[in-house]
């Protein structure tokens, strides 16, 4: 039986178990004086039976699926002719690869074609046995579950508590997925980074001034220095993020102040959704806009002023990234400004301050921690932004503070290093994970600080 039929059979069996359990509980209730003598509802008994039938069998299938390839490999290798088995591990791995390919229907070529065919035939036979055994075991466990359920269902049996316990376990498992995701990110990035730092010292990576990740394949190859000093990337990232914040900071903050303090109700109901549209535009669209419209405009403007502007200038990427972040800054600042108690406004106005003075001298200072937190979140967003810089910023590392020149960023390098086919043991590919680690750590620190500040601030006025 194929996997899908087994799953389908199990589903049907679970449904049948539900009906049977329900009937059984009702029959028992009738025998012992009405439905009121049951501890739980009949449907709870049914659900308990369905859980007993379905869950262990599905778990079995899951583990079977995970372990099958390794066990099959072992069995096939144990039966190989001795001269094949005598090969070293790498060759044996290649041989098994051939076997698996043959099983999958591809034609394997090579010197050991005959041995491969024999092994593949055995592999296929084992696979068939495995599928049969799997189906038998799954159905057997399901039937055992049904028998167990049949026995345990009694009027005094606390079926509801059991079923709710299972549901609660599922809920807990789902909520811990967030932690597993974080752990997964940390492990996957850290693991490859450590492999990278075994080849390139951490200090060279963090403080080196030269970035050219082409490693030489041959010793005498030209132009492949394989330098992994990431400072130019950090500098480029900071430069573009700085430009973005120069655009988004003042504009976003002023928009928030205007909408929260001055704008008539009607204007707010129109302007806010418009800003949300700006926030909802995919970043790839901003990237296209930056490369197609903004960069040529800036270049042309620079030409008329007699400046030499690179066609992939940091200014264009930063400017468009700033536009992208405006709604982010404005909505965070808006929340914070609205959280300032009305009494503080009223007090300042009653003392004769103008509206602007109230805002500048009372509201902004009161909201400052929250605004700073929002800005930090915006910076972390700018640092991690990928598509705009991939499409509008440069590719070659360039250590400069001139916004008219092309710079590259951490995210651009991650993308260029990892797009396309890669071999997983070269320093070039691994360096992308080291960059990812830096990116993750920096944004994590910014986020933790920002979230902490914002939360503290909210509590202050709650």
């Amino acid at each position: 039986m194929s996997m899908s039929t087994v799953v389908l059979v199990l589903l049907l069996m679970s449904a049948a178990a539900f009906m049977l359990g329900k009937r059984r509980s009702m029959a028992l209730a009738e025998a012992s004086g009405g439905i009121g003598s049951l501890h739980s509802l009949p449907s709870h008994y049914g659900s308990w039976a369905a859980v007993l039938v379905g869950v262990p069998a599905v778990l079995l299938l899951f583990f079977w699926q995970a372990l099958e390839p390794t066990v099959l490999d072992r069995l096939v290798i144990a039966d190989l002719p001795p001269e094949v088995r005598a090969q070293d591990e790498a060759r044996l791995g290649l041989f098994m690869n051939d076997v698996r390919n043959t099983v999958a229907g591809n034609i394997a070529t090579g010197a050991q074609a005959e041995a491969v065919q024999v092994a593949a035939a055995e592999y296929r036979a084992l696979q068939k046995d495995s599928a049969r055994l799997r189906a038998l075991l799954a159905v057997g466990i399901a039937l055992a579950g049904l028998a167990l359920a049949w026995q345990t269902i009694r009027p005094s049996f606390r079926a509801r508590n059991r079923v709710e316990g299972v549901v609660k376990f599922f809920l807990i498992a789902c909520s811990t997925l967030a932690i597993f995701t974080t752990v997964g990110i940390v492990l996957s990035v850290l693991f490859e980074s450590i492999r990278f730092f075994q080849r390139v010292p951490v200090t060279e990576f963090l403080f080196g001034l030269n970035w050219s990740p082409q490693t030489a394949l041959r010793i005498d190859q030209v132009g492949s220095s394989g330098a992994f000093g990431a400072v130019p990337l950090f500098a480029g990232t900071l430069l573009i993020s700085f430009i973005a914040m120069l655009v988004a900071g003042p504009i976003g903050l002023m928009v928030a102040i205007y909408l929260a303090e001055y704008a008539p109700r009607k204007m707010r109901t129109v302007a806010k959704p418009m800003l949300e549209i700006l926030a909802g535009v995919p970043t790839v669209v901003y990237g296209f806009f930056a490369a197609l419209v903004v960069a040529p405009k800036i270049r042309a403007m620079g030409m008329t002023l007699g400046l030499d502007v690179a066609s992939e200038s940091a200014l264009a990427a930063g400017l468009v990234m700033g536009i992208m972040i405006i709604p982010f800054v404005s909505s965070l600042s808006d929340d914070v400004i609205n959280a300032v108690p009305q009494a503080m406004r009223d007090g300042a106005l009653a003392l004769g301050a103008t509206h602007a003075e109230t805002i500048k001298q009372v509201i902004i200072p009161a909201a400052l921690p929250g605004i700073v937190g929002g800005f930090l979140l915006a910076v972390s967003r700018a640092i991690g932004e990928t598509m705009i810089v991939v499409m509008a910023a440069g590719l070659s590392a360039n250590l400069t503070a001139n916004p008219l020149e092309a710079v590259t960023t951490v995210t651009v390098q991650i993308v260029t290093l990892l797009v396309g086919d890669q071999e997983f043991d070269s320093a070039k590919t691994l360096s992308a994970f080291a960059l990812g680690l830096v990116l993750f750590v920096v944004t994590l620190i910014l986020n933790v600080i920002a979230l902490h500040v914002v939360r503290k601030y909210r509590e202050q006025y709650e």
Binding site: L171, C174, M254, L275, L278, V281, V284, F288, I414, V419
Partner: protein
């Protein structure tokens, strides 16, 4: 007791005068400050306007495509080399020659190799496949002369749409003066016409702009979103229900909360690295498959859905829970029979917004190999596929002028999808929003 004149500040004008004098300045500052706010808002909105106008202005023409009407003589010798009208024979026919002959028939005075090549460059290579398919479907056409519309090449299309101007010096444009002369003649004969560009919606990717379409990318995005939805909605809701309704307040749940909030702010490309290291290298799932893309996007949208679902659960007043508990329902029954149904609209709204985010996301997909040039339309979760935003990224990199137009058109389609999803979320919120 001191007299009035001993007071500090004596000799200065009275306070109300100081205030009076400074009032003008303060009012001006007030107006200035307000003006800054208006300027900022206008700037932000004009950026939005500029963005939309430039995209739409570049893209609306891509919904039309130029076609050329030519008379094709399906000469038996070129089309059917074996002469038996069999499928194998018709497949090997030289349809390119048919197209070339049709063009030389239109312009009999064109001679010389390079001129002829320039002439045949005006018609898309798609015409060859169109002829081949037509003849293979109906072999009785062999030997006849058929008149039909075939797609023009992208440069001819650009000229027809006015994106290539004859005023530019010849060396600066992709069409020669001769080619423009032929095109003008075709236009004057009424043999060139713009029609609705169905290829854009029914084809996969192609190196030829006039044949490139977004169907493959749209389908890839669709499969991916299905995976994302199937995973992130139930898991997100379950996590939110646990954290909001059942979780004890302790360090462990605090840790989960902090984790969720942080994951919401982790750069999307880091999720791509996770997908590459875990799903592709560790679990050995296929590259470029919508399944992997969906898994990565599900992990990415989970925090959004959890946060929105928790807000929706929080908005359900405690009285509902108390009433249900008072009637003897268990906590699980209270939650599943009363609280979740009331919070469902809010949860769905959050999910739709999360899906919209996932639809527009491209950076993590670059990491898991969904940037390949894929012509075939994917048919399942394991087929190599690309996604709509990634298709936009790929086209944006193409040098042809016609791809700028098509990129913008793909963006319009993407923004259309996003608009519909967000409108749906707004409508859902409007319809089911309850103030308790």
């Amino acid at each position: 007791m001191s007299s009035m004149s001993d007071r500090p500040g004596a000799g200065r004008p009275p306070i109300h005068e100081v205030v009076q004098q400074s009032l003008g300045r303060r009012y001006r500052a007030e107006r200035r400050f307000k003006a800054y706010g208006i300027i900022a808002l206008v700037l932000a909105l004009s950026f939005l306007g500029l963005l939309l106008i430039s995209i739409i202005g570049n893209g609306y023409t891509a919904f039309q495509q130029t076609f050329v009407k030519l008379e094709f003589t399906l000469d038996p010798e070129t089309v059917d080399p074996k002469g038996d009208r069999s499928e194998a024979s018709l497949r090997t026919g030289n349809y390119l020659a048919v197209v070339r002959n049709a063009l030389s028939g239109e312009f009999p005075d064109v001679s010389g190799r390079s001129d002829r090549r320039a002439l045949s460059a005006l018609v898309s290579t798609g015409a060859v496949y169109q002829l081949q398919n037509m003849v293979m479907e109906d072999p009785s056409l062999v030997g006849q002369t058929v008149e039909m519309w075939v797609p023009a090449d992208d440069d001819a299309d650009m000229y027809m749409k006015g994106r290539i101007s004859a005023d530019v010096p010849e060396s600066d444009r992709r069409l020669t003066d001769k080619q423009i002369g032929w095109l003008d003649q075709l236009i004057a004969d009424g043999r060139m016409e713009k029609k609705f560009n169905t290829a854009l919606f029914t084809n996969g990717d192609s190196r030829d702009p006039e044949l490139a379409g977004i169907l493959g990318a749209v389908k890839g995005s669709f499969y991916m979103l299905m995976v994302t939805l199937a995973l992130s909605f139930p898991i997100g809701v379950a996590a939110a229900v646990y954290l909001e309704e059942f979780a004890p307040k302790n360090r462990w749940t605090d840790l989960i909360e902090v984790n969720i909030n942080n994951l919401a702010a982790v750069p999307s490309i880091v999720f791509g690295l996770l997908g590459l290291a875990v799903f592709l290298n560790f679990f050995g799932l296929p590259r470029s498959a919508p399944l992997v893309g969906g898994l990565v996007l599900a992990l990415m949208t989970l925090p959004t859905i959890i946060i929105a679902s928790r807000a929706a659960l929080k908005a359900v007043p405690p009285s509902i829970r108390e009433a249900a508990l008072g009637m003897g329902a268990s906590r699980m029954q209270t939650t599943f029979h009363h609280v979740i149904p009331l919070a469902l609209p809010g949860m769905l709204t959050g999910t739709i917004i999360g899906m919209a985010q996932a639809l527009g996301e491209s950076a993590p997909l670059l990491m898991i190999g969904m940037v390949a040039f894929i012509v075939d339309v994917p048919q399942g979760l394991f087929d190599p596929a690309t996604a709509l935003p990634v298709q936009i990224y790929l086209w944006a990199d193409s040098p042809e002028r016609a791809f700028v137009e098509r990129t913008s058109a793909a963006i319009i389609v993407l923004l259309g999808f996003l608009l519909v999803m967000n409108l749906l979320a707004v409508l859902l919120r409007r319809k089911f929003e309850r103030r308790w």
